[in-house]
């Protein structure tokens, strides 16, 4: 597949051809189910005529069914564009196809989508990761130039790692959330999933920047990174040693090889540890669930989406939400409702906020001595469908990614090799807040070294 950088050099007719060829490819690779249209046997959703970019189903595109992969939003047509979509359009890019996802971005395998499974292009018996599994699978399968995903606890980086592509989560506040159906407002960020690091930087530049419609948007001018990429820049990189040691043997070895390669290329490597990641999980699931429990209250069947037949108001709420939400979403709404309840608020929500501050301070401490942090993305490579039936086991998929969201830092996941079953292995760089330039420089450096 043509890269985003290459596509940006195409003329109008070439773009028309690119779009038409892409449609054919999407049709041919229907079994991947990366796009909701592939799963539903429908023509690909389009808006505008620019370079086609796959859009996760929780990012609003005017006139599209945007459903967050949920039954409760069936029939809903978004009446406006998310800010990232408008930004894309003004740069010659165009939303093209709805990428499949875990329902409301809650999951690590894309198995919880209302529309069905997305397959991992490297091995179709394996999951593509999640929640932005459709976006990553589309890029990996060569049926998307690039894609947008969203990352609340690893939902861009983990599927990128499982599918062998590049996925980047910006600093919290760098990309407007206006038009992204909220899961956890204080953690959500939209980001690019691409074929290489440079494309990620290009797409990031297009979608980033301050915006008044999002009060949490950072009020600082965006400094372009893609035109200043420098793979020769020598950086101090802190490796999270305890994370590397915890991963399975093949990931551990590949990661260590990558660290060696970075060192050989002239980067300074230092070794650090982070607190046991089980605290990250607990903190994340309290905060994310609490925010989600309120964010999802709007899905009540009153104004839009699916409304269940009922004879009274209470029944309408009960049936609409019972039938409309999937199991994982219900689980997290219940969890979030519980931790916010009087008598439990201090013990859970307030405590989680304190833990969040602690996690953030740990990152800050390490980043005082380093430009970047280097860590694994996942404890294993892509797993088989249905192999993680225990939700807690599924939650462990996020152990190396969620703390980054809790700290609000930027991170990028990129492929560093394959395991013995030929499944991709990813690793992530984590940067200073608003330190995207160093983040992309480091990632580009590693990408180049590994290509040699």
């Amino acid at each position: 597949m043509i890269t985003l950088k290459e596509a940006l050099a195409l003329n109008k007719e070439e773009i028309v051809k690119l779009r038409s060829d892409l449609k054919t490819k999407i049709e041919e690779k229907k079994e991947i189910g990366a796009y909701i249209e592939q799963l539903q046997n429908k023509p690909i959703a389009e808006f505008g005529e620019g370079i086609p970019i796959a859009i996760k189903d929780n990012i609003q595109v005017n006139g599209w069914n945007v459903t967050s992969g949920s039954n409760i939003l069936q029939g809903y047509v978004a009446p406006y564009n998310a800010t990232v979509i408008d930004n894309m359009l003004s740069h010659g890019l165009a939303p093209f196809g709805r990428a499949n996802m875990d329902e409301f971005a809650m999951g690590s395998s894309t198995e919880s989508s209302f529309y069905g499974k997305t397959l991992n292009p490297h091995n179709t018996s394996c999951v593509p990761g999640g929640s932005s599994g459709g976006s990553a699978a589309a890029v990996a399968a060569g049926i998307a130039v690039a894609a947008l995903g969203s990352d609340t606890g690893g939902s861009i980086r983990q599927p990128a790692a499982f599918c062998g592509c590049v996925g980047m989560k910006p600093t919290y506040g760098k990309v407007s959330r206006y038009g992204l159906a909220s899961y956890s407002s204080s953690l959500d960020q939209i980001g690019p999933i691409t074929q290489n690091v440079e494309d990620a930087a290009i797409l990031y530049d297009i979608i980033a920047g301050h915006e008044v419609k999002d009060s949490t948007s950072a009020n600082i001018a965006h400094e372009k990174v893609s035109d200043k990429l420098d793979s020769q820049r020598k950086l101090t990189i802190a490796v999270i040693e305890n994370y590397v040691e915890e991963t399975d043997e093949e990931i551990k070895n590949t990661t260590k090889a990558a660290i060696k390669a970075l060192e050989d290329a002239g980067h300074k490597i230092v070794y650090k540890n982070l607190t046991n990641s089980k605290y990250d999980i607990a903190t994340y699931y309290v905060i994310a669930a609490a925010e989600a429990s309120a964010n999802f209250s709007r899905y009540d069947g009153v104004r839009y989406g699916n409304r269940a037949e009922s004879t009274n108001l209470k029944e309408m709420y009960n049936k609409t939400r019972s039938e409309g939400f999937g199991e994982e979403v219900k689980r997290r709404i219940l969890l979030g409702t519980f931790v916010l309840s009087s008598g439990y608020y201090d013990a859970y929500y307030i405590k989680a906020q304190k833990a969040r501050h602690f996690i953030k301070s740990q990152f800050e401490e390490i980043l005082n001595e380093a430009d970047l942090i280097f860590a694994p993305v996942t404890p294993t490579t892509a797993f088989e469908f249905g192999s993680k039936s225990d939700p807690l086991e599924m939650y462990l998929q996020d152990i190396y990614t969620i703390s980054v969201n809790l700290a609000g830092l930027p991170a990028i996941s990129l492929p560093i090799g394959f395991d013995s079953k030929n499944m991709p292995i990813g690793a992530q760089f984590i940067g200073h807040a608003y330190g995207e330039q160093a983040l992309f420089d480091g990632a580009l450096s590693l990408e180049k070294i590994l290509k040699k």
């Binding site: 009446p79 406006y80 959330r177 407002s185 419609k213 999002d214 009060s215 009540d300 104004r303 916010l340």
Partner: protein, 474 residues
């Protein structure tokens, strides 16, 4: 004997042009669901952005009641499901409201005063409206997201009368600050009343009932009186614990009773938490400095009127009760009208002629005209009696004061020659009465005055007539 304990929660709709978290207009009475957008409809992906005007108006209010205005306050989500609440939570303030503390002073006719404490005032968004038509209900979200300042009092009031005085004072303050239209009928000034009773002498607060749906001072008064009676009777009958429970009650306007509305909130569990879509509200120093400069408040104005114009305290209270009236009065003074005369002509003559919901704002005779009229009395152009005729005419016709005086031929005759001519004619026609007067029948002086006024059709300056008659009759 019981003591009544009343605390009030007032929702004043702030009169901003746009809603609190989006740019939809706040206008009242438009077709349903026309003033709505992605944000106030609660669409997926929509985010709130604070309208800073609401903060400015809150600062003004806090300043007016001598409260602490928090430099940093926080918006929280108050979670509950209702069809008129698009997001399934209301954005409100909980642990750190923008305004905390403060007091409102209420006045009584005998000149005494009482201070009512204000616990807090916080910003929040209004909900929409559910309209029920038989078996279907329609939701109108035009009102959803209009800014409210919820003003919570301490339980400091001891009677319906005190509660009404507090409300009227609060109403007057927000009108003086021009932060709310405070129109009770349109719902831009709403009140919930918390009532409990206790044996006199006790400090403990007993179970309170909250009464909602009160949209006029009259209903508030009636609702309180009914509720107090209900609680007292329950106590006396030994059924207090069963009948007086912490609950929300609705006032039935037709029957004049309060009714339990259990069902909406079995037990309130709002799961407040800071809204992650909004940053804490931090007031910049410049904004604080700008917004604490507030206009003159009712009490200050009243005192100034008394001191500056020498009008009676009671009159000053009446005039400053409504900001529109106070402005009307001040504009009359600006026109050059005498202050004391203006009081009478405004509060007695003009107000007495109002009909069908007229107010100082909608009055057909504006302050400039009424001021001119008063001026014409003072300078002797017309008599007070004639001025009433002029005012009657002006109530019906949009013309100038002077043109009316001219048209109705009411200009006072103060010219000695003209009056003397009339006096001489009257003396000539009543020689017998002149004789009687001169021989000591003083009472007949009135007869001559009357005759002269009659001859002038009331336009002769009575002072002049008196003076000249005395000259002629010796």
């Amino acid at each position: 004997m019981f003591e009544v304990v009343i605390g009030l929660e007032v929702h004043a709709q702030l009169n901003t042009k746009t809603k609190i978290f989006c740019s939809c207009p706040t206008s009242f009475g438009d077709a349903p669901n026309t003033n709505v957008c992605t944000v106030c409809l609660g669409l997926p992906g929509a985010l709130p952005v604070l309208n800073i005007e609401t903060v400015k108006k809150s600062i003004a209010f806090g300043t007016a009641i001598g409260a602490t205005v928090h430099k940093k306050s926080i918006f929280n989500r108050k979670n509950y499901f209702y069809p008129d609440l698009p997001k399934g939570y209301q954005i409100s303030q909980f642990e750190i409201p923008i305004v905390e503390g403060g007091e409102v002073i209420i006045d009584f006719e005998d000149g005494t005063q009482k201070t009512i404490g204000v616990t807090r005032a916080h910003l929040e968004e209004d909900a929409g409206k559910n309209n029920h038509h038989g078996s279907v209900s329609h939701v109108d979200l035009n009102r959803a997201g209009t800014p409210l300042l919820e003003i919570v009092s301490e339980p400091d009031m001891r009677s319906a009368d005190e509660a009404i005085r507090y409300l009227k004072k609060l109403h007057s303050i927000v009108r003086y600050l021009d932060i709310s239209d405070a129109n009770m009928q349109e719902g831009s000034f709403r009140c919930d009343v918390n009532i409990s009773i206790r044996p006199k002498g006790e400090d403990k607060l007993y179970t309170r009932a909250e009464i909602k749906n009160l949209n006029s001072f009259k209903f508030i008064q009636k609702a309180i009186e009914y509720e107090v009676q209900r609680q007292c009777e329950a106590w006396e009958d030994g059924r207090y614990d069963e009948e007086v429970v912490q609950e929300t009650r609705l006032f039935d306007v037709d029957k004049g009773v309060t009714k339990s509305m259990r069902g909406k909130e079995d037990s309130a569990e709002y799961r407040y938490f800071p809204d992650p879509d909004l940053l804490p509200v931090v007031i910049p120093d410049e904004m604080m400095e700008e917004c604490i400069k507030i206009p003159e408040l009712p009490d200050e104005k009243k005192n100034r009127f008394v001191n500056e114009y020498g009008i009676k305290e009671y009159d000053a209270t009446v005039i400053t009760g409504l900001v529109e009236m106070a402005h009307f009065f001040e504009n009359m003074i600006k026109e050059g009208a005498d202050a004391k005369m203006s009081v009478t002509w405004l509060t007695v003559e003009l107000l007495g002629r109002f009909s069908g919901g007229m107010s100082a704002v909608t009055s057909p005779v504006n302050a400039q005209k009424l001021g001119t009229l008063v001026k014409r009395i003072k300078d002797g152009t017309i008599s007070g009696k004639a001025a009433k005729e002029v005012l009657d005419f002006l109530m019906e016709n949009d013309v100038s004061v002077d043109a009316t005086i001219e048209k109705l031929g009411l200009k006072q005759v103060s010219d000695d020659g003209a009056i003397l001519e009339m006096i001489d004619a009257i003396i000539a026609a009543n020689t017998d009465k002149v004789e009687q007067y001169k021989s000591g029948k003083d009472k007949l002086f009135g007869f001559f005055v009357g005759q002269t006024m009659k001859a002038s059709k009331g336009t002769a300056n009575p002072g002049k007539v008196n003076e000249l008659l005395k000259q002629r009759l010796g």
